[in-house]
Symmetry: C2
Subunit: 85 residues, 2 copies
């Protein structure tokens, strides 16, 4: 068994309203960042766990997303980093 | 000018209470994921903008974090991906 640090991103699906992203976009415009076209806000989830291998840590993390971390109707998820620590 | 997609992570600083992370950790344990040691939850922010170069897009994104996206007392930020799109 080894110890893994896993980074997960859960974001609103394209087409789903994202009021927090809209609010930040508006504030950035007001602060002078007029070159910004779009802002989307989701959850950044960091998980530390014991697992047999990197593949096993990744597949456990994907199972957590499907079962608890993401709402499959409104959100997409991505396990974008798995590293032994 | 080119178009860039930027991924930013804003997370609670070590030592700062993270009730959402604690709640998810607890739920994962209840679902049988007893190998999980720690969960931290932050914001995943996706920004699309026009910029002169990748370096300039990155430095603008870091300025947004310092000025608006992250609370410097309680949160850390990382601009972990900048790609031309």
């Amino acid at each position: 068994m080894a110890h893994y640090r896993i980074e997960i991103r859960v974001t609103p699906r394209p087409g789903i309203l994202d009021p927090q992203g809209k609010a930040i976009h508006h504030s950035l415009q007001n602060l002078g960042w007029t070159a910004v076209d779009d802002v989307r806000v989701g959850k950044a989830i960091h998980v530390e766990m014991e697992a047999e291998s990197e593949e096993s840590a990744r597949s456990e993390a994907e199972a957590m997303c499907r079962k608890l971390l993401a709402n499959p109707v409104t959100e997409d998820f991505e396990v974008y980093q798995v590293e032994e620590a």
